[in-house]
C-alpha cells in the first residue's frame, strides 16, 4: 500500500467518523443561538471557536460533514445505479442503434456546463439538498456509463465470456455475473474520485445558497456566512474551508492509491 492511500484513507475515515458521531452526539446544540458567546477564537470549551451566532464551530463542522457526505454519496449512487447498467447494456449490444443512442446521449450531458445546469435546476425547483443531489447526480451518469462501456468492451472478447455463452447464458446474465465483477475495482476508484468532486460541488452549491437550507449545517453555507466576517474572525472562514480541502484531498489520495493497488501496471507517477 502506498503512503498516499494510507493518508487518504485516514483523512476520509476521520470525516466519516465525525459524520457518524454527529448522528448520535455533537458537543453543542447548533440550533439555538448564544449571542454572548459569538466569534470566540478556539479555546478549551469550543475547540474550533464559535461563529457569529455563538454556535460551536466543531459541532457545525460535524453536522456539515454529514450533509456533504450524504449529498455526495447519493449523487455518486445515482450516477452508478443508472450509469453502470447503461454502460453494461451498451457494451453487450455494442454497435447497435441503442448503443449509439446511449453513448451520444452521454456525450450530450458531458458537453453541458454542469454548474450552470445545477444552478438552473435548483433555481427552478427551489434550493434543497435533494435537488442538489439530483443536479450533481445527473452529471455522474455519463461518467460511469462511458467508463463501464470502455472497460466492458475488451472483456466481451475474452475466452471466459465465450465459454459462458457456450453454456447458454444470456447477454444480461453474462453482464451481471462475469463482466460486472471484473470492472468493479474500476468503479470503486472512479466512485472515490466522483465522491470528491461531489463534495466540492455540494460546497459550491450550498455556498451560493442553492444547497441544503438552514438549519441544516453545510460547509459551503458556513463559508458563505463567514465571508463578511473574514477580517474580524478569520477562524470562522478558515475552519470549514480546511474541512472541505482535507476531505477532498483525502478522497483524491485514496482514489489514486486504490488505482495503483488494483492495477499495479499503471504507476501513480505517470498521471
Amino acid at each position: 500500500m502506498s503512503r498516499g492511500l494510507i493518508i487518504g484513507a485516514f483523512l476520509t475515515l476521520i470525516f466519516a467518523l465525525l459524520a457518524c458521531v454527529s448522528l448520535l452526539w455533537i458537543p453543542y446544540d447548533i440550533e439555538t443561538f448564544q449571542i454572548p458567546n459569538k466569534l470566540k477564537t478556539p479555546n478549551w470549551d469550543n475547540w474550533l471557536g464559535t461563529d457569529h451566532f455563538g454556535r460551536d464551530i466543531l459541532s457545525m463542522v460535524m453536522m456539515g460533514a454529514r450533509t456533504s457526505i450524504a449529498v455526495a454519496l447519493l449523487a455518486v449512487g445515482i450516477g452508478m445505479v443508472i450509469g453502470v447498467p447503461l454502460g453494461l447494456f451498451s457494451a453487450a449490444r455494442r454497435g447497435s442503434f441503442l448503443d449509439e443512442f446511449i453513448m451520444r446521449g452521454n456525450d450530450l450531458i458531458f458537453a453541458f456546463p454542469s454548474l450552470v445546469i445545477a444552478i438552473l435546476i435548483t433555481a427552478v425547483f427551489g434550493p434543497s439538498a435533494v435537488n442538489a443531489i439530483v443536479a450533481i447526480g445527473i452529471f455522474n451518469i455519463p461518467v460511469f456509463a462511458r467508463l463501464t462501456r470502455a472497460a466492458a468492451l475488451p472483456l466481451w472478447e475474452r475466452d471466459f465470456v465465450l465459454s459462458a455463452r457456450v453454456c447458454g447464458k444470456s447477454e444480461t446474465r453474462i453482464s451481471v455475473e462475469h463482466i460486472f465483477p471484473n470492472i468493479m475495482n474500476l468503479m470503486i476508484v472512479q466512485g472515490t474520485i466522483q465522491f470528491s468532486l461531489g463534495i466540492l460541488a455540494e460546497a459550491s452549491l450550498s455556498y451560493i445558497g442553492l444547497g441544503a437550507q438552514p438549519p441544516t449545517a453545510s460547509w459551503g453555507r458556513m463559508l458563505a456566512d463567514a465571508q463578511t466576517l473574514v477580517s474580524i474572525a478569520p477562524h470562522v472562514a478558515l475552519v470549514p474551508g480546511f474541512a472541505i480541502l482535507l476531505m477532498v484531498l483525502g478522497l483524491n489520495l485514496m482514489g489514486d492509491g486504490l488505482r495503483d493497488l488494483f492495477d499495479p501496471r499503471i504507476k501513480n507517477d505517470r498521471t
Binding site: D107, P113, I119, I208, A226, L246
Partner: protein, 314 residues
C-alpha cells in the same frame, strides 16, 4: 477531414437543439406556470394575465419554443421582466466583465501550468517533481471560492494591494485589469493544477517514445530533445484540455463574480433567480451552454487539424 467536420457539425447542431429543449422544458415544468412563478402567490389576476400574454403563454407550447429559438437566432432574447430592458442589452453590458475574466484566468492557468508541468516531467522523481505534484493535489482539492476569500483577506484587507471587490469599468484598462486579478487567480488555480498534471503525464509519455531516443542518438542533449521534440508533441492533448477549461472558467466565473461583486453574467443570473425573472435566467443559461458547446466543437476541429490520426479513425 470534410467528413469529420461534417460529422462533428451534425452533432453540434443536435447538441444545441437538445440543449435548448432541455432548458425550455425545465422552465415549462415549473409547478403552476412561469407567470405565477415569477409574480408569486399574491399576484393580482390581471397582472398575471398581462404577463402571460407578454410572455406568450397563451400560445401553444411548440409555437412558443420556436418563437424563443428563432428570436435568439436573430439576437432577440426577449425583454427582462424586472429590468424592463431587452435581455440582449443586459448580456451585452455584462459580457465585458465575464469574458475578459475567463480569458485572463485561462492565460494565468496556462502560464502557471506549462512551466510547472515541464519542470516536473523533466525532473521526474526529484524534489521539484514531488513538490509540484503535491502542490497540484492541493490545488485540485481547494474550493476556489474559499481560496478567493483567503486571497481577499491577505491581499485586499491586510496588504491593501487590490480592492476586495467591485469593477471600475474599462475606461481605465489598468484599473479594470487590476480588479479582475484576484478573481482570475482564484478561478485559474484549480485549472492550473489539473493542466500541470496533464502536461506532466503527456510529456512523460512523449519522453518514452522512440523518436526521443532517436533524437538523443543523433546527439541532442536531454534538454534539446525535450524542448525540440517532446514538448511540441505533448502539447496536442494539452491544447484540448485548455479548450475544455475555457468553458469551466466561464461557468465557474458565476460563483467567483458573486464573491468579488463583479457585474458579470453570473451576477445577472443570480439577481434574475432571486427576482424570479425567468426570461433572463433562460436566455443567459442558453447563452452559456451555447458558448460551451461551440468552444468544444472548435476544440474538436483544432484537434483534428493538429493530429491527422484522429481524422482517419472516424
Amino acid at each position: 477531414m470534410i467528413r469529420y467536420t461534417f460529422a462533428r457539425l451534425t452533432s453540434l447542431i443536435i447538441s444545441l437543439i437538445v440543449a435548448s429543449l432541455v432548458i425550455f422544458s425545465v422552465i415549462e415544468v415549473i409547478p403552476g406556470d412561469p407567470a405565477s412563478f415569477m409574480l408569486g402567490i399574491n399576484a393580482r389576476e390581471d397582472t398575471l394575465a398581462a404577463l402571460r400574454s407578454e410572455m406568450g403563454l397563451d400560445q401553444p407550447l411548440a409555437l412558443r419554443y420556436f418563437d424563443w429559438v428563432i428570436g435568439m437566432l436573430q439576437g432577440d432574447f426577449g425583454n427582462s421582466w424586472t429590468y424592463k430592458t431587452p435581455v440582449s442589452e443586459l448580456i451585452a453590458d455584462r459580457i465585458w466583465v465575464s469574458l475578459p475574466l475567463a480569458i485572463y484566468a485561462l492565460i494565468l492557468s496556462t502560464l502557471i501550468a506549462f512551466p510547472a508541468g515541464i519542470l516536473a516531467a523533466s525532473r521526474r522523481g526529484g524534489v521539484s517533481d514531488v513538490t509540484i505534484m503535491g502542490a497540484t493535489q492541493m490545488g485540485v482539492a481547494i474550493p476556489n471560492f474559499w481560496f478567493a476569500m483567503i486571497m481577499v483577506l491577505i491581499f485586499a484587507i491586510n496588504l491593501r494591494w487590490f480592492s476586495a471587490g467591485g469593477f471600475p469599468g474599462w475606461s481605465d484598462p489598468i484599473q479594470g485589469l487590476k480588479s479582475l486579478t484576484l478573481p482570475a487567480i482564484s478561478l485559474a488555480l484549480p485549472q492550473a493544477a489539473i493542466l500541470a498534471r496533464i502536461m506532466r503525464s503527456s510529456l512523460l509519455d512523449m519522453l518514452s517514445e522512440d523518436f526521443i531516443r532517436t533524437a538523443r542518438a543523433k546527439g541532442l542533449t536531454r534538454r534539446q530533445a525535450l524542448w525540440r521534440h517532446a514538448v511540441r508533441n505533448a502539447l496536442i492533448p494539452v491544447i484540448t484540455i485548455i479548450g475544455l477549461q475555457f468553458s469551466f472558467l466561464l461557468a465557474g466565473g458565476i460563483i467567483i463574480e458573486q464573491i468579488f461583486f463583479l457585474p458579470g453574467l453570473g451576477r445577472l443570473i443570480f439577481q434574475a433567480i432571486s427576482a424570479r425573472d425567468l426570461i433572463v435566467v433562460e436566455s443567459v443559461v442558453m447563452l452559456l451552454v451555447f458558448t460551451v458547446i461551440i468552444v468544444n466543437f472548435a476544440v474538436d476541429i483544432t484537434y483534428a487539424i493538429v493530429d491527422p490520426r484522429l481524422r482517419r479513425k472516424s
